[in-house]
């Protein structure tokens, strides 16, 4: 119902009341008719403890104001006890239906619903004239499911993609895989080389987020490579971080890099130091480090938010070579404009494999490409099929490719 209509309806009710005040006082409004056809079922694909109810609107629920809403009541069913004698609890309410609704639904989720026990429900129409109720004809029990069927296509996607990637990880150990050049990655050596020539430090920022983000993990992997280079060239490395867990992780990784490069003597825990968890507090402090230590190369590899441009512009003003890499789509434009090189999205995730030249990691990139290929084919095929449907050609249901990618119902 449009808001205007509702207001009109309310006005009409008021007018009627005004026209017949005596009648309204003498005969109180009749209680609204109860809802019709109350059904209940266990909600599928959940941990139980939930029942989905559905009923047809009360005939009086027509916007006239006689129904102000519905209340939902639950009681545990006991054999041989009349429904009226059960212990009823009000467990929910529902606003009146709108014009055009044929059924209303209400899901009762509560840990008080014990899985496997039978419950009865009743739904009441509430109104100024009283209430009318309907009882669920048969008891219902909630159950937990072991598999969420609505997620079948996600399971398929996980299996296909993981399968593809794992296949190529295996295969890569015996075969060579071509990887196209990525401009930003070639610049890593150049940047560290320049810092070495100038005798200035290399600054590495692994993003501002914590270890629960894959971007941070990818950034620290790249740091592992940068650490190897700075160890080899004996260039000072400066890694300010904004999360303690990242500090701990980065120390393990960089220590290992220095060990592998044969220069554990150059490693020092204080190269990787914590500043603050705060986004802008961190940016302010890193700006200070940049201006006072004048790093010749700045790496920003990880998950970034608005501080990206603060860092990159300050880095630019001191004339450092800057290489950024992130999967934060919103920050890519700033890195692109302010940095010399930027690893975009997927390139950033591929970087550690590119840099380490580890065969299995390279295989996983080939696996990603297989995923892309599947997606590309699906796109073309899908668009073709839905276009056929749109012009009125009936297709068999197994050709419905949109169902394959419809993950919105999966919850």
């Amino acid at each position: 119902m449009k808001p205007g209509n509702a207001r009109l309806a309310a006005l009409a009710v008021l007018l009627c009341l005004g026209a017949a005040p005596a009648a309204a006082q003498d005969a109180p409004a009749a209680p609204p008719a109860p809802p019709i056809d109350l059904t209940a079922e266990d909600t599928p694909n959940d941990r139980g403890h939930a029942i989905a109810l559905s009923w047809v609107l009360s005939p009086d629920d027509d916007g006239s104001g006689r129904v102000t809403g519905y209340s939902v009541w639950r009681a545990e069913h006991r054999e041989g006890v009349a429904p009226a004698d059960l212990e009823w609890r009000r467990v929910g309410s529902h606003s009146p239906g709108h014009l055009g609704d044929d059924r209303l639904t209400h899901t009762d989720v509560s840990d008080n619903i014990v899985n496997g026990r039978p419950y009865l429900y009743r739904v009441r129409t509430e109104g100024p004239g009283g209430s009318g109720e309907i009882l669920l004809p048969a008891a219902i029990a909630a159950r937990a499911q072991w598999f969420n069927r609505a997620r079948w296509n996600m399971l398929l996607a996980v299996l296909v993609l993981s399968g593809g990637i794992m296949y190529w990880i295996q295969k890569a150990q015996t075969s060579d895989i071509y990887l196209r050049p990525v401009a930003g990655l070639k610049a890593f050596d150049e940047a560290i080389g320049r810092a070495t020539e100038m005798g200035n430090p290399v600054l590495f920022v692994p993003g501002i987020m914590d270890m629960d983000q894959i971007e941070t993990l990818a950034g620290v992997s790249i740091l592992g490579y940068v650490g190897k280079m700075t160890a080899r060239y004996e260039t000072p490395l400066e890694v300010p971080v904004s999360r303690s867990l990242v500090m701990a992780h980065a120390r393990e990784v960089v220590k290992e890099s220095y060990l592998q490069a044969g220069r554990p003597d150059l490693y020092n825990d204080d190269m990787i130091h914590y500043l603050t968890d705060d986004q802008f507090g961190y940016a302010a402090a890193v700006d200070g480090i940049m201006l006072r230590q004048k790093p010749a190369a700045c790496f920003y590899q990880g998950k970034f938010y608005a501080e990206s441009l603060i860092l990159a512009e300050t880095g630019n003003s001191i004339g450092a070579i800057q290489i950024a890499g992130t999967a934060s789509p919103a920050q890519l434009p700033f890195f692109i404009t302010a940095c010399d090189y930027t690893l975009i999205g997927e390139e950033f995730f591929a970087a550690s494999a590119y840099l380490s030249q580890d065969k299995r990691s390279i295989g996983s990139i080939r696996g990603q490409d297989v995923g892309k290929l599947i997606f590309m084919v699906a796109l073309i095929l899908g668009v073709f099929l839905v276009s056929l449907e749109a012009v009125g050609i009936q297709l068999p249901s197994w050709l419905d490719i949109t169902a394959l990618f419809d993950v919105s119902s999966g919850g």
Binding site: M1, K2, P3, A6, S71, V72, V91, G92, S93, H94, S95, P96, H98, H106, T107, D108, V109, S110, D111, F280, Y305, A306, S317, P329, A330, S408, S409, G410, G411
Partner: protein
């Protein structure tokens, strides 16, 4: 050094100065200009207008003082609209500072303008740490996620929460957001899995992140940045829900001038770049 070389290698501090002035001057001497309401802003309004009066709307505040100039004007307009249409408003925050933002707005609009009754017309559940986990957990139960509200009273004791067990009982979600966690998490963990209609007012930066969800219909429209706020004010005024334009439109004057100054800078820079390059070719 001739003029073009100078322009090309202009000290950035000159740019800083001009930008500061181009915002400061219109702020001191404001003016208003006509606005065209974009379809995305209209979609937000239509989604809200489709709600029957007295619906329960969940408003989540995920922004802080630094993004206040952008999001606060939207929050004000939305609240005004919701209270005029007698919706019940449940307010929460996934950002700690979001709580102060929501308090500020509720004091100004709910208490100041509409004399709405706490616990009946609206409730402020406050901030809860845990990002998207909080969303998942209100999907199961409000009272367990928020045992007490910001007044320190048991949440279930307020009339507004009667019958509101969890997300399933909410009719609409409005996310006011400036980053993570924010609109994207609300789409992913609430609107999507539970099939709830929702819309968003977010900072202009976030728009890029959110727009794919708007295009795919997972989020109904979007108010993006100060411009979105200003357009929404204009639209609400057109429809008779507001009597005067608010902070969104006031800020737009400074915004407009700053934008044009910036574009002028870019054009001058390009002209200088072009002239220089042509010269280099001659030699």
């Amino acid at each position: 050094m001739d003029l073009f070389e100078k322009i090309s290698s202009l000290d950035r501090r000159w740019i800083f100065l001009v930008i500061a002035l181009s915002i400061l001057i219109p702020l001191l001497f404001p003016f208003t200009q006509p606005l065209e309401v974009s379809p995305d802003v209209r979609a937000v309004y239509e989604a809200l207008a489709a709600l029957p009066e007295g619906s329960t709307v969940l408003c989540s505040f995920e922004y802080g003082p630094s993004t206040l100039p952008e999001v606060h004007p939207m929050a004000r307009s939305v609240m005004r609209y919701l209270f005029q249409r007698d919706h019940k408003v449940i307010v929460m925050a996934l950002w700690p500072d979001g709580l102060f933002m929501s308090r500020d707005i509720l004091d100004e609009i709910a208490v100041g303008e509409y004399q709405a009754e706490y616990g009946v017309d609206y409730i402020n559940l406050g901030y809860k740490a845990g990002n998207e986990v909080v969303i998942k957990s209100i999907a199961e139960s409000f009272s367990r996620t928020y045992p007490v509200d910001t007044r320190g009273q048991s949440t279930t004791s307020w009339p507004i929460m009667h019958g509101i067990e969890n997300l399933a009982n909410i009719d609409f979600i409005f996310s006011l957001s400036a980053g993570y966690p924010g609109t994207v998490e609300w789409v992913q963990y609430a609107a999507d899995p539970y099939n709830k209609p929702m819309t968003t007012g977010c900072t202009a930066v976030q728009v890029t992140e959110v727009v794919p969800y708007v295009r795919s219909g997972q989020c109904a429209g979007i108010l993006g940045g100060l411009a979105g706020a200003a357009e929404f004010e204009v639209l609400l005024m057109e429809k008779g829900w507001l009597t005067e334009l608010g902070a969104g439109n006031r800020g737009m004057a400074a915004q407009s001038v700053a934008h044009l100054v910036l574009v002028a800078f870019i054009i001058i820079g390009n002209v200088a770049f072009y002239v220089e390059r042509r010269r280099q070719r001659k030699f």
